[in-house]
C-alpha cells in the first residue's frame, strides 16, 4: 500500500515537484473516534483519484485535510510542494491553489452567480473586477450556464447550482480539484449534467480527487480508485483491478451492495 519514499523526500521543503499531494502517516481523531488511521497517499500531477467507501469511513475527512478544512493530529501533508504542517502561510497558499466542490453546493445565497465567481479572485488574488468577470463568464460558459450569471443561487436547479460551484472553484485557477460527494444531494436527472462537467475537466488534465458513489464515473475517468473503511485505506488500484479483481473482503461486500 505504501507508494511513498518518505525517508528521502522528508527533508526537502517543497518536496517532489511532480507530486500534487503527499500524505504520510496521517492520523485524525474526533475526540475518542479515530477518523483517519495512518493514511499514506501520493497523488501525481494530472492524476484522477476516486475515493469510495461506506458512510463514516473517513473519505470526506481525507480530502478535507488536503485544504485543511480539517486539521490532523499527526503525520504530514504536502500539497503541490507546500508542507502544511505548522505553516499557516502554506495553508493559505494551498487553499488558493485547491478548488473544492461540496455536497451541499455552498454557494453564497446573497450574491449573484457572477458575484459568487468573482469574489475570491478579487479579494484573494487582487484581480480587477473586469478581469474577474471575464474569467467568470468564461468558466460559466464552460459549465454551460452562461445565461444564469445574474441570477441568485436559489433561482437555479440543484444541478445548475453545482455547476456554478465548479465554475466558482475554477475561477481561482486551481491546480487540484477536490470533490466531496458532488452528486449526492442532486435529483437523479441532474446527476449526469454534473458528472459530464467533471468528465470534461478530467479530460483537460486537471488533478482531481473525488469522493463519490458514482461507480460508472470511477470506471470512466479514474486513474486509481481507493476504498476506505473505518478510517483506513484498504484497497487502491486501477479501475480494472479494483472492480474486476478486488482483494479486500470488505471491498467485495461493498461492491456487492452498491451494484
Amino acid at each position: 500500500m505504501t507508494d511513498v519514499t518518505a525517508g528521502a523526500a522528508a527533508a526537502d521543503m517543497r518536496g517532489s515537484p511532480d507530486l500534487a499531494v503527499r500524505m504520510e502517516g496521517v492520523n485524525k481523531w474526533y475526540g475518542a473516534f479515530h477518523a483517519l488511521k495512518n493514511i499514506e497517499l501520493s497523488v501525481q500531477r494530472g492524476e484522477r483519484i476516486v475515493i469510495c467507501g461506506p458512510s463514516g469511513s473517513g473519505k470526506s475527512t481525507l480530502i478535507r485535510c488536503i485544504n485543511q478544512l480539517e486539521t490532523i493530529r499527526d503525520g504530514r501533508i504536502v500539497v503541490d510542494g507546500y508542507d502544511l504542517t505548522g505553516s499557516k502561510k502554506n495553508v493559505d497558499l494551498v487553499r488558493q491553489e485547491t478548488g473544492m466542490v461540496f455536497q451541499q453546493f455552498n454557494l453564497f445565497p446573497h450574491m449573484t452567480v457572477l458575484e459568487n465567481c468573482t469574489l475570491a479572485p478579487m479579494k484573494v488574488r487582487g484581480v480587477s473586477r473586469a478581469e474577474a468577470e471575464t474569467t467568470a463568464r468564461k468558466y460559466l460558459e464552460r459549465v454551460r450556464i452562461p445565461e444564469q450569471a445574474d441570477k441568485y443561487p436559489a433561482q437555479l436547479s440543484g444541478g445548475q447550482q453545482q455547476r456554478v460551484a465548479i465554475a466558482r472553484a475554477l475561477c481561482m485557477n486551481p491546480k487540484i480539484m477536490l470533490f466531496d460527494e458532488p452528486t449526492s444531494a442532486l435529483d437523479p436527472e441532474m446527476v449526469k449534467e454534473v458528472l459530464d462537467t467533471m468528465i470534461d475537466l478530467a479530460s483537460e488534465g486537471m488533478t482531481m480527487l473525488c469522493v463519490t458513489h458514482e461507480m460508472g464515473f470511477a470506471r470512466q475517468v479514474a486513474d486509481r480508485v481507493i476504498f476506505m473503511d473505518r478510517g483506513e485505506i484498504l484497497e487502491m488500484g486501477t479501475p480494472d483491478a479494483f472492480f474486476g479483481n478486488p482483494q479486500n473482503e470488505r471491498l467485495k461486500t461493498f461492491l456487492g451492495q452498491i451494484s
Binding site: M100, F102, P109, V124
Partner: protein
C-alpha cells in the same frame, strides 16, 4: 407665579422637548453598543479561548444584573475613580456597555445561524478571516439580525428612562420635574408614556415589516 401651576400645553411642550435627550441617549448607546456588540459577537465566535471566555463573562455579567445597578455602578464608580460625577457620561457609558453585551449575544446567535458550509466554502476559496466575515458571513447574519436588533432598540429606548434616577434629565426625569410643579401625575406620566409609545411603536412596526421582507427574500 403660583406654587402649583396647571398642566397645560407649555408643560406638555417642555416634556416633549426632553424626548430629544431620550433620543440622543438611545442613539449614543445604540451606536456605541453596535460597535461593542459587533466586537463582542466576533469574540464570542472566535477561535481564541481567551477571547471567548472574556466576552462570555462580559455578556453574563450584563445579562445577570439589572440595568439600574449597571447605571449606579458606573455613576458611583466614576466618583471612586476620581472622575467628576456627570449623569450624561455615566448614562451613556452604562447604556453603551449594556447594549454591547445584549447586541453581542443577539448577533452571536445570528452569526452561528449562518450554515457552517458557507464558512467552509469561503475558506476553501482561500478567503481569510476578515474577508470571510465581511463578504460571506456577516452579510447573511445581518439579514437574520435586523428584526431582533430593532426589537432590542425598543428595549433600549425604554431602558433610558432609568437614567432619570441618576439625575439625567431626559423624558422621564422631565416628567417628574413637571409633576412636582403641577401635581397632575396622571396627565404628566400619561403624556410621558404616549411619547415613549410614539418613539417605540413605529420601530416595532418596522421590525415586523423587515422580518417579513427578509424571510421572503431568503426564499427568493
Amino acid at each position: 407665579m403660583p406654587l402649583i401651576r396647571p398642566f397645560g400645553l407649555p408643560e406638555f411642550w417642555i416634556i416633549l422637548m426632553a424626548a430629544q435627550w431620550t433620543i440622543a441617549l438611545s442613539a449614543i448607546a445604540f451606536a456605541g453598543g453596535g460597535l461593542g456588540g459587533l466586537l463582542t459577537a466576533l469574540a464570542r465566535v472566535s477561535d481564541s479561548r481567551w477571547l471567548r471566555g472574556l466576552s462570555t463573562g462580559f455578556i453574563r455579567l450584563f445579562q445577570g444584573t439589572p440595568l439600574l445597578m449597571q447605571l449606579f455602578l458606573v455613576f458611583f464608580g466614576m466618583n471612586i475613580l476620581g472622575l467628576a460625577i456627570n449623569p450624561w457620561v455615566a448614562a451613556a457609558v452604562a447604556l453603551t456597555l449594556h447594549a454591547s453585551a445584549f447586541l453581542g449575544e443577539i448577533w452571536r446567535g445570528c452569526i452561528e445561524a449562518v450554515p457552517s458550509g458557507q464558512r467552509e466554502a469561503a475558506t476553501a476559496l482561500g478567503l481569510r478571516y476578515v474577508n470571510r466575515m465581511r463578504y460571506v458571513v456577516l452579510p447573511q447574519a445581518s439579514r437574520i439580525a435586523v428584526a431582533p436588533t430593532v426589537g432590542f432598540l425598543v428595549q433600549l429606548i425604554k431602558g433610558t428612562s432609568l437614567a432619570a434616577i441618576i439625575g439625567f434629565t431626559e423624558l422621564t426625569r422631565q416628567g417628574q420635574i413637571i409633576n412636582n410643579a403641577t401635581f397632575s401625575p396622571f396627565a404628566v406620566f400619561g403624556s410621558v408614556a404616549v411619547i415613549y409609545f410614539m418613539l417605540c411603536w413605529p420601530l416595532s412596526v418596522l421590525a415586523r415589516r423587515m422580518e417579513f421582507r427578509f424571510s421572503r427574500s431568503a426564499v427568493r
